[in-house]
């Protein structure tokens, strides 16, 4: 087949294509909506949620994952363009912010109560719930990003995993009654890392082209 002939055939297949952001939205929004419904139906909201959110430490455990999810979303889209090499520095900044929260928690908690604050009563539930809530958004994100052209699929997969894990965490924080940064920086953080690692592993398989 001559190259001119291939070009003629390719040109015959030139409908307008939606951009990557549009297809990510189309997959991710329903997945997040279903995940939110699952949280409401299976986990339920914590009692007195509105009042609790007035406390800075409680607001932070919802807000920080939301900011992380937004950042990972932007970076995942950017890294799905072939020429892009987005820096992961914004993620490091957010990690440092989480560590600062942890330090503030350590300073304001009497040392004798550190173990109890760190372990809380629901660490295991948290570690299972966050990755479980992240499954659907991760699947949706990776499927949407298959239309992308990432030249570093592991990194794009990692970003999709962090996005899903952080979104799942922001939702789970609406259920979880543990309000010490000692608890949530560790266990939420670990949940997000598990989801990120899953994305990192799946990326090279799913996002190659």
């Amino acid at each position: 087949m001559k190259t001119d002939q291939l070009i003629a055939a390719l040109a015959a297949d030139a409908p307008a294509e939606p951009g990557l952001g549009a297809s990510l939205a189309r997959w991710l929004l329903p997945a997040l909506a279903l995940t939110a419904l699952a949280l409401l139906g299976i986990w339920g909201l914590r009692p007195g949620l509105a009042a609790a959110l007035m406390q800075p430490a409680v607001a932070a455990k919802v807000a920080l994952p939301l900011v992380l999810a937004g950042t990972a979303l932007v970076l995942a889209l950017r890294s799905s363009r072939p020429e892009a090499r987005p820096s992961l520095l914004p993620l490091a900044v957010l990690g440092a912010l989480a560590l600062a929260l942890l330090a503030a928690g350590l300073l304001t908690t009497p040392q004798a109560r550190w173990p109890q604050a760190w372990l809380g009563n629901t660490a295991l539930a948290c570690l299972i719930s966050i990755p479980a809530l992240a499954v659907l958004p991760l699947a949706a994100g990776l499927l949407a990003l298959r239309r992308g052209a990432s030249t570093s699929p592991a990194r794009t997969g990692l970003l999709a995993g962090l996005l899903a894990g952080a979104a799942a965490t922001a939702l789970y924080a609406l259920h979880c009654p543990e309000d010490s940064p000692l608890f949530y920086v560790c266990w939420y953080g670990l949940g997000i890392v598990i989801s990120g690692a899953a994305g990192r592993l799946l990326g090279p398989r799913l996002l190659r082209w």
């Binding site: 190259t3 294509e17 951009g19």
Partner: protein, 179 residues
């Protein structure tokens, strides 16, 4: 033709303008060929043309990842680099392409348009008969979508769907060929 003109063509193409798209693909092909030959002259002209076609197919399937306000050449080069490295790996060779841009790489003379590339036909034969017939009719026999749809008693939309799936399938077949 300048990068600005290429960008205008691809912008129109991504909005659905098939003629602009054809001109765009024609315009970039000598540059792609130059890139492949500069690095893979030892493979022979026919294999080089296979790789050029693989790159064109990848550009086709990923054209929506170009943001119309972004510079075109780095995007084009990144796709070409990715597929050229893949293609050489599939043929048991390594190729060294710097990150960045075409700048130093397009000095090579693209030379005359070779007659045939061999892989494409072999891959088309592995499509299901209807897809293969449609790709051949439109590519090799130069039929319009409208003619093909009349001849095969399909709607134009259905022909387009088959054609689009066929390209995705061809890209996947080439991918497997790499494994």
């Amino acid at each position: 033709m300048t990068e600005v003109e290429w960008a205008a063509l691809l912008r129109a193409a991504n909005a659905g303008d098939a003629r602009a798209y054809r001109r765009f693909l024609h315009a970039i092909t000598p540059m792609l060929r130059g890139l492949v030959r500069a690095r893979g002259g030892s493979l022979g002209a026919e294999h080089c043309e296979d790789i050029v076609q693989e790159v064109l197919l990848a550009i086709h399937l990923k054209r929506h990842t170009w943001r119309s306000d972004a510079p075109l050449r780095p995007w084009l080069y990144a796709i070409a680099r990715h597929k050229v490295i893949d293609a050489f790996r599939a043929r048991g060779q390594r190729v060294d392409l710097p990150l960045g841009d075409f700048a130093e790489l397009i000095a090579a003379d693209p030379g005359p348009d070779p007659t045939e590339a061999s892989d494409a036909l072999r891959m088309i034969e592995r499509l299901d008969p209807r897809s293969a017939e449609i790709v051949r009719a439109i590519g090799i026999d130069g039929e319009e979508i409208a003619e093909t749809s009349r001849r095969l008693e399909m709607t134009e939309g259905a022909v387009r769907v088959v054609l689009h799936r066929a390209f995705k399938r061809l890209a996947a077949l080439r991918e497997r060929h790499i494994e």
